[in-house]
């Protein structure tokens, strides 16, 4: 099997990793870089647990070949906080109790980040649509939507 040494820029840090062509991005992040925020849950693009931002765009890491994102800017949940300072979305999720088991949370927050990047003051319906590709099986969605709205200011 052909192997190659490839460079990945994850959360602003450059990593050189030996990869094979059949490695998915979620395998690269979890197994090679030990970044376990992105999860492979359904593995089929339905649940959004593996969502990361590539050059700012929400991408399903379980359906992305690692070899296709060499040298692109990959943002995972681990790169969102600045040191000890949580990102406003992270703070808001904590304050609103918008998580229970936490499994879906990294994907939820990254999808919400993309939504707010494009639309800083979304309406409730827009938040629902923006998070439609992320499934939560614990809390229901009300607290998550409130958490996003309170950051965006659309709920005020």
């Amino acid at each position: 099997m052909k192997k190659e040494l490839a460079t990945f820029i994850v959360n602003g840090v450059s990593h050189d990793v030996v990869i094979t062509s059949n490695m998915t991005l979620v395998e690269l992040l979890r197994d090679e870089l030990n970044l376990t925020g992105a999860r492979e849950s359904c593995g089929d693009g339905d649940c959004g647990c593996c969502t990361v931002l590539i050059d700012g765009k929400p991408t399903l890491a379980c359906l992305t070949l690692a070899v296709t994102v060499k040298r692109k800017n990959i943002l995972t949940i681990e790169g969102l906080a600045e040191g000890e300072n949580l990102h406003p979305l992270q703070k808001s999720f904590v304050e609103h109790g918008a998580l229970q088991c936490g499994y879906c949370t990294p994907g939820m927050i990254l999808s919400a980040k993309f939504l707010l990047d494009e639309n800083p003051n979304p309406k409730r319906e827009e938040v629902k649509k923006g998070l439609g590709g992320n499934l939560c099986r614990c809390t229901g969605y009300n607290k998550i939507i409130k958490a996003v709205l309170s950051v965006g200011g659309g709920g005020k």
Binding site: S21, N22, D44, G45, L60, L63, L65, T68
Partner: protein, 295 residues
């Protein structure tokens, strides 16, 4: 599906000619990678196991939505569904296509997936094929030494099967100019808005002086490919779109399809919903055209 992908050889093409060359030399053992949502999912399930995966992501100038000098709409092979959703050209001029792309799937899937990729996966449940077929779209296909144009409605041979030969690559969707008096609509029934359609319907009609001069009714999820309801079309052509006429056409459409029963729906329900959706889509077109739809 925690399945590792089987091994394959990965190649990147930087031009259409290069992609065609690689695909041709692989003689059917290669798959094209654009957005990857369809292909990688199929490879995980094992329903596809190409020996070579040819990425076309690096080909420049395939990501565009534009009008040509003849007012034809051109959509490049690397244009994402989300780009289409956000396009003012599509929103203003192609309401049926806009309705389809705005409700399909999630933001992530729309951002990754290409419109042409959705067409090439050849699922009969595509939400994008019916509105484009109803608009009379053609595909521009580059192959070794030649380029050909195939009407979208003749592109499909069966579930997952198209007329594409080894070495051929769809590079563009071309939609003819929309003549005055044209109205189109897209409707879908699914469990949730973003889910796969149980039945979908796209209709394009052209009405001149109250008479229907052109009609295309395209149905999805009710046959191995998207299909035109030609009997239904013939019933409204050269007619005024009165309620009686619309109802007759809707019933005819339901008789023309041969849906299956599966986890999403039953044959009987799908047939009934074809009639409902065709009626509603025609009514929507009439409403937009300002035609009186007398009871």
């Amino acid at each position: 599906m925690f399945r590792r992908l089987r091994n394959f050889d990965y190649q990147e093409a930087e031009t259409v000619d290069e992609a065609v060359g690689i695909l041709y030399s692989c003689g059917g053992k290669a798959a094209v990678l654009a957005g990857g949502v369809g292909l990688i999912g199929d490879m995980k399930r094992g329903s596809k196991s190409p020996e070579v995966v040819v990425s076309i992501k690096k080909i420049s100038d395939l990501d565009y939505i534009a009008k040509n000098e003849s007012d034809f709409l051109r959509i490049g092979a690397l244009t994402s569904i989300r780009t289409a959703e956000l396009s003012p050209i599509i929103r203003a001029g192609y309401p049926a296509l806009f309705d389809a792309v705005s409700q399909i799937a999630s933001v992530q899937v729309k951002t990754m997936s290409t419109l042409v990729g959705n067409l090439c996966v050849a699922t009969p449940a595509s939400d994008i094929a019916p509105p484009l077929a109803a608009l009379g779209a053609q595909l521009i296909i580059s192959g070794p030494g030649k380029t050909r144009y195939v009407p979208l409605e003749h592109f499909y041979l069966g579930v997952g099967k198209t007329v594409l030969e080894p070495g051929e690559l769809v590079t563009e969707v071309l939609v003819p100019s929309v003549l005055p008096g044209t109205h189109s609509a897209f409707l879908k029934i699914a469990r949730t808005r973003a889910d796969i359609a149980k039945v979908n319907v796209a209709v394009t009609i052209r009405v001149v002086d109250g008479i229907c001069q052109e009609a295309r009714i395209v149905l999805g999820s009710v046959a191995p490919t998207v299909v035109r309801a030609k009997t239904a079309e013939s019933l409204i052509l050269s007619n005024r779109l009165e309620s009686k006429v619309i109802e007759k056409a809707a019933q005819a459409a339901a008789q023309e399809v041969r849906p299956i029963t599966d986890i999403r729906s039953t044959e009987e329900y799908r047939k009934q919903m074809v009639a409902v959706l065709v009626r509603r889509a025609l009514e929507k077109c009439c409403k937009n055209s300002g035609e009186v739809n007398t009871v």
